[in-house]
């Protein structure tokens, strides 16, 4: 194995040695932030502020400040929830599933992908809480022992399942993320100059010393976590899809939802990872680490999942027709031709057409194009959830209560706010934590030199 040299294009460019990797990654944290970073951070913060204002006003005044009505009880709130949960999926997928498949190329992006997961799940988790009429009672969703005489939650409710799914997902992926970071934290600790930094990372790295006996078990645990996270990530969006699949409303009451939602989640997730990675590699000069290879690989995943999503759309229409159920058929005709047709066709345009560009290598390797297309996918996937939720509700069984839906500025503000929160957290993360997994990158360097060059 010692003379095994990869014939493929190397994972990392600019033939670096181990020290260079440490140097490059830690530099991002050491050097002063660029004006680009400040700009992004400023934008993110102001978006977050807008979100805070909207949400506080809504909680103080009532859900009435949203555009909902007696027929359409969910719209932006749950759309955003599903959207963010979906985004979250790519992270775990990259770090866990690709790890199990021994996909070496994941090493330079998995750290930030996992971080993205956690931040996305945090954003997602907010919506079920603020969408409640009485959010201050959100803790009633947990089955805690109480003295109110037997009083429990309803384990038959998909919303209760959500609580467990999202909760578990957040905890496990956070653990996975942190656990994977411990060796790097130690690295940062050992090269830190300032006392504060030494102490801070000293605490976080839990006295890691690179002992191989520890490494040995560490690897096993990491594999186990990956093994857990993989089915977890599938289960989470399955459960989210149950919110709709187990209901009685035509357009929601659909057995194909679980795979359809999971694929959609990965689809949107990878698009979001691309967006972030492309920004990161530009602003932080990580071209050597996040190479065109990485980008190309991810676009390939997008082609696949995009394909599954397309298939799902087709299946829905087929099943509606095949079921012979008039209400079902109406809902789908109404999606494509009804008052919300515009939203439906945006969805189709973004989710069905966009991925097709990635069949061409030239486009896959054109960073700018990929960036633009990835954003289109994100838009498309947001609209997918909007279409599923709103068009199914606004015209269901009894025509007497059919109605339309238009968002208020409060809802739009909240959506923008969630993006603000997401990017704020992410920008803080890349400044304070090793955003590339040094250990794992080093392991794929296959460096055989004597490592004694300028930096040491």
């Amino acid at each position: 194995m010692a003379n095994q040299i990869s014939v493929r294009e190397p994972q990392i460019h600019g033939n670096k040695n181990h020290a260079d990797v440490t140097q490059d990654v830690c530099n991002i944290m050491d050097r002063k932030p660029t004006w680009l970073w400040w700009l992004g951070f400023g934008l993110a913060l102001s978006a977050l502020a807008l979100g805070l204002v909207s949400v506080s006003y809504q909680i103080a005044t009532g859900i009435g400040t949203w555009g909902l009505n007696k027929t359409v009880g969910w719209a932006f709130d749950i759309t955003n929830f599903v959207f963010w949960v979906g985004i979250g999926h790519a992270g775990t997928l990259i770090s866990a599933i690709l790890f199990l498949f021994r996909q070496k190329w994941r090493t330079s992006i998995n750290r930030s992908a996992e971080a993205m997961t956690i931040f996305a799940v945090i954003c997602a988790g907010l919506f079920p809480i603020i969408h409640m009429g009485r959010p201050w009672l959100a803790y009633w969703m947990f089955p805690y022992p109480n003295f109110r005489g037997p009083l429990w939650i309803n384990f038959r409710s998909p919303l209760a399942w959500d609580v467990f799914a999202i909760g578990t997902y957040l905890i496990i992926s956070a653990t996975f993320w942190y656990f994977g970071m411990i060796p790097d934290l130690a690295t940062v600790r050992d090269r830190a100059k300032s006392k504060l930094k030494k102490f801070f990372f000293g605490v976080l790295s839990l006295g890691w010393n690179g002992s191989f006996r520890v490494w040995h078990r560490y690897e096993t645990v990491y594999a186990l976590l990956a093994g857990l996270a993989a089915p977890l990530v599938v289960s989470v969006h399955t459960v989210v899809s149950f919110d709709f699949a187990t209901s009685a409303i035509p357009g929601w009451h659909t057995t194909t939802f679980p795979p359809y939602f999971v694929a959609g989640a990965v689809f949107s997730g990878f698009a979001m990872v691309l967006t972030l990675m492309i920004i990161a590699r530009k602003t932080l000069q990580l071209e050597d680490y996040i190479t065109l290879n990485h980008i190309e690989n991810m676009t390939k995943v997008i082609i696949l999942t995009g394909g599954i999503v397309t298939l799902s759309y087709a299946t829905e229409f087929f099943m509606a027709w095949y079921s012979g159920n008039g209400y079902e058929q109406f809902v789908f005709l109404n999606r494509a031709l009804g008052p919300f047709a515009w939203a439906y066709w945006i969805m189709v345009g973004c989710n069905l057409i966009t991925p097709q560009f990635f069949w061409f290598r030239s486009i896959r390797r054109n960073v700018v194009l990929v960036f633009i297309l990835s954003i289109f996918v994100n838009i498309g996937m947001w609209f997918e959830r909007f279409v599923i939720i709103v068009t199914s509700l606004h015209r269901d069984f009894l025509p007497s209560s059919w109605s339309m839906y238009t968002p208020t500025w409060v809802e739009i503000g909240t959506l923008i706010g969630s993006f603000g929160l997401f990017f704020t957290l992410f920008l803080l993360f890349i400044r304070t934590m090793p955003m590339i997994s040094m250990g794992e990158v080093k392991s794929v360097l296959h460096y055989r030199g004597n490592g004694d060059n300028q930096n040491g």
């Binding site: 194995m1 010692a2 181990h18 020290a19 440490t22 089955p143 037997p150 429990w152 384990f155 038959r156 209760a160 399942w161 467990f164 799914a165 909760g167 578990t168 905890i171 496990i172 653990t175 996975f176 060796p183 130690a186 600790r189 050992d190 000293g202 605490v203 839990l206 006295g207 010393n209 690179g210 002992s211 191989f212 006996r213 520890v214 490494w215 040995h216 078990r217 560490y218 690897e219 096993t220 645990v221 186990l224 976590l225 857990l228 996270a229 089915p231 977890l232 289960s235 459960v239 040094m438 250990g439 794992e440 080093k442 392991s443 460096y447 055989r448 030199g449 004597n450 490592g451 040491g456």
Partner: protein
């Protein structure tokens, strides 16, 4: 306790070969310090497979049991209440939560038992031959035998694998 010898290497391949050779020469490897999990070093050092996966399986079992029985007890025994005409024991509906609980127990259980084994020392500077062990240097710690010449043997193996002894 016996004296130990520490050797430093520039890359993982040299290290692995050296470790292999030293062990073949009948020396006992105390430990190795590397910036990342070196592939194949475990075999070289002759480490046994970790049994932690059995622990995590145990936790998974506990998780699923708590999940299923808990929900059954709540919905069918402690507080049976007619919800949309569904039966007291709606087992299919309990599956998602049961699964999540299992994953949660298993995941946290595994990690914490790892920490327990590791006896984490919060904030302590790790005990390692050199700070570069977490950066770009690879160290091996060998238990020095009784014979005088043993030192030289190890030294030879190290040097021919382009490593060098570190004296402490």
């Amino acid at each position: 306790m016996d004296r130990q010898m520490v050797a430093e290497f520039r890359n993982e391949f040299d290290l692995t070969d050296a470790v292999q050779a030293v062990r073949d020469a009948g020396f006992e490897i105390v430990d190795a310090y590397t910036p990342f999990a070196v592939h194949g070093l475990d075999k070289a050092m002759g480490l046994k497979k970790s049994r932690i996966n059995q622990i995590s399986f145990l936790f998974a079992l506990i998780g699923i049991t708590v999940g299923v029985l808990g929900q059954y007890w709540v919905s069918a025994i402690n507080w049976p209440i007619n919800i949309g005409g569904r039966p007291w024991n709606s087992l299919p509906a309990f599956m998602p939560v049961a699964f999540e609980v299992m994953v949660l127990f298993c995941g946290l259980g595994t990690v914490f038992s790892f920490f327990a084994w590791r006896k984490v020392k919060y904030g302590k500077q790790g005990l390692q031959p050199n700070l570069r062990a977490t950066n770009d240097r690879f160290y091996v710690v060998v238990k020095q035998g009784q014979e005088r010449k043993s030192t030289s043997v190890v030294k030879d193996i190290v040097t021919e694998n382009n490593g060098e002894m570190v004296d402490q």
